[in-house]
Assembly symmetry: C2
Homo-oligomer: 392 residues x 2
Amino acid sequence: MKDVYIIGLGQTEVGEHWETSLRHLAWEAIDAALKDARLKQPDALFVGNVLAGQLSKQEHLGVLVADFCGLRGIEAASVEAAGASGGMALRQAYLAVASGMVNTAIAAGVEKFTDTVGSRATAALTSATDSDWEAAQGATPAALAALIMRRYMHEFDCAVADFAGFSVNAHANAKTNPYAMFRNTITAEAFAKAPMVADPVNMFDTAPDADGAAAVIVAADDFVWAHRDASQRPMIRIAASAVATDSLALHDRPDPLFFRAANLSAGRAYKQAGIEPGDMNVLELHDAYTVYAALSLEACGFAPRGLGWRMAGEGGISLRGKMPLSTFGGLKARGNPAGATGIYQIVEAALQLRGEAGANQVAAPRWGMAQCLGGSGSTAVTHILERVGRDS
Amino acid sequence: MKDVYIIGLGQTEVGEHWETSLRHLAWEAIDAALKDARLKQPDALFVGNVLAGQLSKQEHLGVLVADFCGLRGIEAASVEAAGASGGMALRQAYLAVASGMVNTAIAAGVEKFTDTVGSRATAALTSATDSDWEAAQGATPAALAALIMRRYMHEFDCAVADFAGFSVNAHANAKTNPYAMFRNTITAEAFAKAPMVADPVNMFDTAPDADGAAAVIVAADDFVWAHRDASQRPMIRIAASAVATDSLALHDRPDPLFFRAANLSAGRAYKQAGIEPGDMNVLELHDAYTVYAALSLEACGFAPRGLGWRMAGEGGISLRGKMPLSTFGGLKARGNPAGATGIYQIVEAALQLRGEAGANQVAAPRWGMAQCLGGSGSTAVTHILERVGRDS
């Protein structure tokens, strides 16, 4: 199996792109990533997307995007695992390169939400849950998150206000991220007054649906060493790639307060990378809801069961904290363009490891981890990245 | 890179499954394939599907199917490349196993069409074309195939009746396939009188939209040798796996009568397998329209440019012919359950190589090829299978 490196990064601003088409958004991110990698002709393209079929009446995104990017002829396909689609696209690119079948591949994610009326977009998003047993009962993703959060607060004796720190931190970090959707500061006081979305989940507990595209270029070790330029930019190795699943429906879980897929996937990733949670220097988790941030921290071994929420209040997750989290704003403030989110996380973690995170830089990180979730934590994709010196 | 073998096959009858849900159909095929492989716990699942989001309001099929099959926890995702989605699911499973990341994987395809009214199903299918530049102009897949067929007849001096042989052959072969949708004989005379769908494409030129699911289990060479049973059943090696693309929109092609993706993909596959078209013993191509069969035969090197249609009339494509085609009925008569079609082709080619094709058996084949197409030949996925003796 070949070692796989990330050699190019690209992203568009996350937001409402009413005047930019789906294919154009994807091109913008891929073009930037190819230029960053100084690569003209990659071998393959994997596109993470959830909603184009339902919202844009466009399937077959692999070909659409390859063709529009001037890459007609290359291998291309789209990959879907709800909110984890971006991570799955990288997983496929990783497998393609690791196998030796291709030398270089693009993992991209793209999503267009906002030129659809909100109720239709929510209905489409709800297709990531169990449509026969959840969606058909009217349970939207936010409603399911509300069930989880209510139960969490009951079991672990905490209040809505105790989750504020996750969102305050995310907005603080997004402020200096030119690609973020919401660059405004929010305070714990504002959080306390936020309107309810699905009690107890309030507007500042949830990440905004958004348009956006992001792309990374991956390459096999031998290709990377043969083509390395004279720059001293550190290399980014994918030290681990792991996927796991749980039940699709929340009510099928023996313990709805345990993100089993996140736990399994992170465990497999630690094993592959040969490290432990304590070794991690930067962390991008799936904070689509604040309670997901807490449960992800617990499932991945960064906090004991039932105590993930405490990390929100201790300052340990800030850029200067012990375990920097959502360093460019996370889903909450960078925005959540569903199928692209997992790739944004990778771009951000890689920027940190390269030391190119600007005002958002955490101190000299070696290990970064990105985990995205699909549905109510039903799919989890975990990647661990390692900064490798030019001469190692 | 590890060698990859097919160790299990499963399929449901193709047809109108009004009383069986999407997940149940998938389970039926996967359960059969796991039993055939004598495997209980595969490592990963890749699901080919095109339309569940649009027609069943269900995305996230990887988890849905894994969970319903009792495989909660395993890696799972869905893969989409329009009509080539099934082939792409096998491609992903192949890459996962070839890389060494997993030992065994399921490649499945599933589609539910027929409990949706026809016009909605057609609209959904049309999302496999370029939605902004083709679908928005009212061009359905059949309308695009009609443009191709009309031009083909003009350029290469043939008539609608000259394509009848493809459909006659497909129906003749489906007659003894218990999984086929249409097991009736059709004659050249009936073909000539068939009602028009999109002039000159008539009802017997086109494959029927259908429900169905199929699955194959793939495994790494070392796993296969460690677990082989005492049976003398031949082993099926995936000798080549290759994907290529063309433009999404038909009007973007310099030559609309050349299936460039099919040509590129087949070329890469021949190179990987180290064989030529003349070595092939059994062939499953994407006969969604009879003119596609002709163009695929030309693109893959089985007929000279402009002469693919002649193979329909020469008897060379029958089970006893020189190049047996659509040996279980092809898309035309077995039926075309979009995202499952590519896996049906693999199941059928593998049954031939195993010598388990019953009344449809071609004489002692060693090499089989399956190629599925997405859109107007915009994506092509080619797999070449080889029968390997137990002791080789």
